[in-house]
C-alpha cells in the first residue's frame, strides 16, 4: 500500500502537523510521524485543507466540448484544489434523464481527476414546463441529489412547489437560479448607475430577490430544502437571513467573482466581465462578504462557466455570459475573506468543503482531516503572490476576469482518495 507523509502542514490553518496517507485513507495526524516507507511531501508551513467541493460547475460535456469536457474541467478542478464537483445540467442534451447523468458520472470516474456528481435538471429540457424524471436520476448510478435548471429560473411557482415537494422522498434539494424572467428581458448588466450611463439593459436586483423571497416561502410551506445559486445582492442576503431566522431550510452560495468584482468593470465593455447574475455594486460585494463570514451564505461555489474565445471576443451584447473559476476560486477567497480577517482557514474549509459536500450529500467528501477519513486533501501555499496567467489553465477555456491581476495563494498538491492529482502545481 502506498504511503505519503505530508510533513509540517498547517491543518486547516492550525499548528504544523504531519499527515500520513496510507492507500486511500488518512492513517494518522500528529507530530513527528515516521516517514518510513513513505514518499515525503515537505509542506513547510503550507495550509492543508480537505479537498474542495464545488456545488456549481459547468463541464459542458455533452454538447459543447469546444468549451470544456469532463476531462479538461476535472483537470481544472484538480488544479484549483477540488476533489469533487457538481456538474450543472444545462448541457446538450440536457441532463434530464438517467442516461445523460450516468454518462457524465462515468466520465468523471474514468478520468480520475476528481469526482463528478451530476446535477439533474428540474424540468424536461430546462423548459420549466414539466418535471424531469427526478426519481430515476436519483436511483441511477449517478445517484443525483441536487436538481437545478441553472441558466434558467424555475419561474412557474407551481412547478417549483412540486419539485421542492417531490425531492423530499429521497433527500434531494432544488438549487434555484433566481431570475425573474420578465424583469430581466434584454438584461446585459446590473441595473443601476453604470447601466444608465452605458446604455446597457438592466438586470435589477429585485429580479433575484423576488424569486428568493417566493422560494423560501414555498420551502417553508411544503417543509422542503431549497438552495439558492450564486446569490449576488445585499437584498438577497437580507431575505436569506430572515428565512434562516424563521427556521426555513434554505442554503445559499456566492461565487468568488461576486466577492471581488463590481459593475464598474463593465465600463470597459469587455465581455470577460459579462456574467449572470451580473457583477453588482461595491455595497453588494461587502454585504456578500459579511454574509459568507457570518454563515448567512453557506458556501462558495464557482459557477465555472467556460466559453470559447470567439464567444467573448466580440461586442458586449453578442457575448456569452460566464467566467471560468475553478482554478482561481481559492485565491479570490484568500484575498477577499482571509486577508481581510473575515474568515480563518477553518472557515474556508467549512465554506468550500464541509458545507457544500453536506448540501450535495457528496459521499466521502467534506470530511475532517483525521485518521480513518478518505484522503481527499488540498495543500495551499498561502504565501505565494503572482499574476493570473490564463495560458497556464487546465480548463479548455480562458474566459477569466483575472488575467494579469495579482492574486494570493496557490494550490500545490491535491489528493483524491490518496492518489495525487496535482503535484507541485502540476497535474499528475
Amino acid at each position: 500500500m502506498s504511503k505519503i507523509l505530508i510533513r509540517g502542514a498547517k491543518v486547516l490553518g492550525g499548528e504544523p502537523q504531519d499527515v500520513l496517507i496510507e492507500g486511500s485513507e488518512i492513517a494518522a495526524v500528529g507530530s513527528g510521524l515516521s516517514a518510513e516507507g513513505a514518499e515525503v511531501v515537505e509542506a513547510d508551513g503550507k495550509v492543508l485543507l480537505p479537498g474542495l467541493v464545488d456545488l456549481h460547475t459547468h463541464l459542458r460535456e455533452p454538447g459543447r466540448e469546444d468549451s470544456e469536457t469532463v476531462l479538461t474541467g476535472t483537470r481544472a478542478a484538480a488544479s484549483g484544489g477540488y476533489t469533487a464537483v457538481f456538474a450543472m445540467a444545462n448541457t446538450f442534451p440536457v441532463a434530464d434523464t438517467a442516461g445523460v447523468v450516468e454518462q457524465v458520472y462515468r466520465l468523471g470516474q474514468e478520468h480520475g481527476y476528481c469526482d463528478v456528481q451530476p446535477i439533474g435538471a428540474v424540468t424536461v429540457g430546462l423548459e420549466g414546463k414539466k418535471l424531469a424524471e427526478l426519481g430515476a436520476m436519483h436511483e441511477s448510478a449517478a445517484g443525483v441529489t441536487v436538481f437545478s435548471d441553472d441558466g434558467k429560473c424555475v419561474d412557474d411557482a407551481v412547478i417549483m412547489r412540486r419539485a421542492l415537494e417531490y425531492v423530499k422522498a429521497f433527500g434531494g434539494v432544488v438549487a434555484q437560479h433566481a431570475q425573474e424572467p420578465r424583469l430581466t428581458e434584454g438584461a446585459q448588466m446590473n441595473e443601476g448607475v453604470v447601466s444608465a450611463e452605458l446604455g446597457l439593459g438592466g438586470w435589477p436586483a429585485v429580479a433575484e430577490e423576488s424569486i428568493i423571497a417566493r422560494d423560501v416561502l414555498l420551502a417553508e410551506h411544503v417543509g422542503s430544502r431549497v438552495h439558492i445559486c450564486h446569490l449576488s445582492t445585499a437584498g438577497s442576503v437580507e431575505i436569506v437571513r430572515w428565512a434562516k431566522s424563521r427556521g426555513i431550510d434554505v442554503t445559499a452560495e456566492v461565487t468568488p467573482h461576486h466577492l471581488l468584482l463590481t459593475d464598474e468593470l463593465v465600463r470597459s465593455y469587455n465581455p470577460v466581465y459579462k456574467v449572470n447574475p451580473p457583477l453588482r455594486t461595491e455595497r453588494d460585494v461587502m454585504a456578500l462578504r459579511e454574509a459568507l463570514a457570518d454563515g448567512t451564505i453557506d458556501i462558495v461555489a464557482t459557477d465555472h462557466a467556460p466559453h470559447p474565445h470567439e464567444d467573448k471576443d466580440c461586442e458586449w451584447a453578442a457575448a456569452a455570459m460566464g467566467m471560468v473559476g475553478l482554478e482561481t476560486a481559492l485565491s479570490v477567497v484568500q484575498q477577499t475573506m482571509v486577508e481581510t480577517g473575515l474568515l480563518d482557514w477553518a472557515g474556508v474549509a467549512d465554506r468550500m468543503s464541509f458545507k457544500p459536500a453536506g448540501i450535495g450529500r457528496a459521499q466521502g467528501h467534506g470530511r475532517p482531516v483525521s485518521a480513518g477519513e478518505p484522503a481527499n486533501l488540498t495543500l495551499v501555499d498561502t504565501a505565494y503572490r503572482g499574476a493570473v496567467d490564463p495560458a497556464g489553465f487546465a480548463s479548455r477555456s480562458r474566459n477569466t476576469p483575472y488575467e494579469g491581476r495579482e492574486l494570493p495563494g496557490r494550490v500545490t498538491h491535491t489528493w483524491l482518495r490518496g492518489r495525487a492529482t496535482l503535484v507541485d502545481g502540476k497535474l499528475a
Partner: protein, 325 residues
C-alpha cells in the same frame, strides 16, 4: 483632440468649443458655389452601418465628400449581433484595405468602444450611434444649433452654453441622444432638465449631471430650448405608458405649451418627428422649430469632427485657402 470620438463624455470643454468653432468655418463652405475642400484628399473613410439610419449615413457621407475623402459605404444590417465575429472580421477586412477612419453605427451599446480599444484595427473610430449608449455627433450638432440660436452665429465663436437652460423631453431610457446631450451640455455649462414619464427614465439617472422632472408644464417657462426625443410607438405595447393619447396629453408639445416658453426659446427635434404624438404640426412647422437646421448643421459638425480627427493640426479653413491659391 483624441484619436477617436466614442462618447460625448470624452470631450473637454475646449475640445467641444473647438469642434463647434471649426464647424462654423465648415458651414461657410456650404455657402460657396463649389461646396468642396481638398482637406481629406487621399484619405479613405468607411461608413460601417450595422443598423439602418439613412439620415445619419447621408449626413456623414456628405461631410466626407465635401472634404474630398474617398468614401466606402458598408451596410451590414442583419449580420450584426447574432455572432460577434462579424464586427471584428468586418473591421479587420476594412483595415486590410487601408481605411483611415471608420464611422460606425451599431445596435449594441459599446460596439464602437470595442472597435477602438480591442486592437482589432488602427483606424480612427467615430461613433455614429451605438445601441442606447451614445451619439456624440448628434449632441454636437444640437449644441451647435443652440449656440447659433441662443448666443449668435458670430458672437458664439469661442463661447460655450454657460447658463442656458435646456429641457429634453421623451424616451430618455432608450435614447443615446439624451445620454450624449446630457454629457455635452453639462460640459458646455448648460443646465439640463430631463422630462419623461418615470417608466422612461433609467434607474441610476440620479448620478447624471442634470435634473429630472415628470411634469413638462412646470419646466417650459424656464427653458431656453426644449428638445423632443423620439418615442417609439412599440413602447406603448411594452407598458411604458398606457396610450398614445395619454402620452401626448402629458408630454406632447402643442401650441398652447409652446406659448408658455420664453419668446426666444427654441424647439428642437433630432428627427424623425412623430407628428400628433410628440409634437403637433403647428409646432413642428413654426419658426421656432429647428429640426431642419439641425440636419444642415449635422453636415458641418461631421466635417469638423472628421477634419480634426484626420486632417491635421492647422485651422481648417486657413489650411484649405492656402491650397486653393
Amino acid at each position: 483632440m483624441q484619436r477617436h470620438l466614442i462618447s460625448a463624455a470624452d470631450l473637454t470643454r475646449d475640445d467641444a468649443v473647438l469642434i463647434l468653432d471649426t464647424a462654423e468655418e465648415m458651414a461657410r463652405v456650404a455657402d460657396r458655389p463649389i461646396k468642396k475642400l481638398p482637406t481629406l484628399r487621399g484619405r479613405t473613410v468607411v461608413n460601417l452601418f450595422f443598423e439602418d439610419s439613412t439620415r445619419t449615413r447621408i449626413s456623414f457621407e456628405a461631410a466626407e465628400k465635401r472634404l474630398s475623402a474617398d468614401v466606402i459605404n458598408f451596410t451590414a444590417k442583419g449580420s450584426s449581433v447574432s455572432k460577434g465575429e462579424s464586427l471584428k472580421d468586418t473591421a479587420q477586412t476594412l483595415e486590410a484595405m487601408g481605411v483611415d477612419a471608420v464611422v460606425i453605427r451599431h445596435g449594441a451599446s459599446g460596439a464602437p468602444y470595442r472597435l477602438a480599444t480591442s486592437g482589432w484595427i488602427d483606424a480612427a473610430v467615430i461613433n455614429a450611434g451605438d445601441g442606447t449608449h451614445q451619439h456624440p455627433t448628434q449632441a454636437l450638432l444640437d449644441a451647435f444649433t443652440m449656440r447659433r440660436r441662443l448666443v449668435g452665429r458670430d458672437a458664439g465663436l469661442g463661447q460655450d452654453l454657460a447658463g442656458k437652460r435646456i429641457t429634453l423631453v421623451g424616451d430618455i431610457l432608450h435614447s443615446r441622444v439624451a445620454r450624449s446631450n446630457v454629457d455635452l451640455l453639462h460640459t458646455l455649462g448648460a443646465e439640463v432638465t430631463l422630462v419623461a414619464p418615470p417608466t422612461l427614465v433609467p434607474v441610476g439617472v440620479e448620478s447624471w449631471p442634470c435634473e429630472v422632472s415628470y411634469d413638462l408644464d412646470s419646466t417650459l417657462s424656464k427653458s431656453d430650448a426644449v428638445m423632443l426625443l423620439r418615442v417609439q410607438r412599440e413602447r406603448m405595447n411594452a407598458a411604458f405608458f398606457p396610450t398614445e393619447r395619454e402620452y401626448s396629453r402629458r408630454y406632447g408639445l402643442d401650441g398652447d405649451r409652446m406659448a408658455k416658453m420664453p419668446e426666444h426659446a427654441i424647439v428642437m427635434h433630432p428627427g424623425p418627428m412623430v407628428r400628433g404624438m410628440e409634437i403637433t404640426a403647428e409646432v413642428a412647422d413654426s419658426e421656432r422649430c429647428t429640426a431642419i437646421e439641425q440636419v444642415a448643421n449635422g453636415v458641418s459638425i461631421r466635417m469638423a469632427v472628421l477634419y480634426l480627427l484626420l486632417g491635421g493640426n492647422e485651422p481648417a479653413v486657413t489650411h484649405t485657402r492656402t491650397e486653393e491659391k
